[in-house]
Symmetry: C2
Subunit: 93 residues, 2 copies
């Protein structure tokens, strides 16, 4: 059951993680998002695994090994990604 | 048989593509590389699929659909990535 505050993310098990796919209108928007999320990683020392192409970004936020839940700091990162994504792109898939 | 000029890349079939994994000493180096390769994509309109974490980047350069070989422009992109990577990081796996 996705939690309300990280609704845009899918929670997956084994290993426990949050996943989200974002799509952008063009590479410029993709790039702006990437730069913002990279800065966020530097500030928070939280580094999602990311894969991207010209107009999409897939993010994966892993729970720390052995943890039964997603840490609050990781959840907060997910929320800030949502805010970034909301600001950085036009179409919501 | 990898071509000499893109030796660092693995050539894969179905679909035809070049793949490479780069590792970096820290996130700062990873980020510098990402920014340089994103600029390269903007200049060349060639957009590798990339996945990255804190200290690694995987790149995939697909051949155009139906092509029997990797286009010269894509090969040139691969070479410029090698040059970027050589300049941006310390350890070679």
């Amino acid at each position: 059951m996705p939690d309300s505050d990280t609704a845009g993310w899918r929670r997956r098990e084994r290993p426990l993680r949050l996943e989200r796919r974002l799509e952008f209108a063009d590479y410029e928007q993709t790039r702006v998002f990437l730069e913002h999320s990279e800065s966020l990683s530097e500030k928070t020392a939280i580094y999602p695994n990311m894969s991207f192409g010209r107009t999409y970004v897939n993010l994966t936020l892993f729970a720390d090994e052995g943890e039964q839940d997603i840490a609050p700091a990781v959840r907060a990162f997910a929320e800030r990604v949502d805010a970034l994504a909301g600001a950085d792109r036009v179409s919501v898939p």
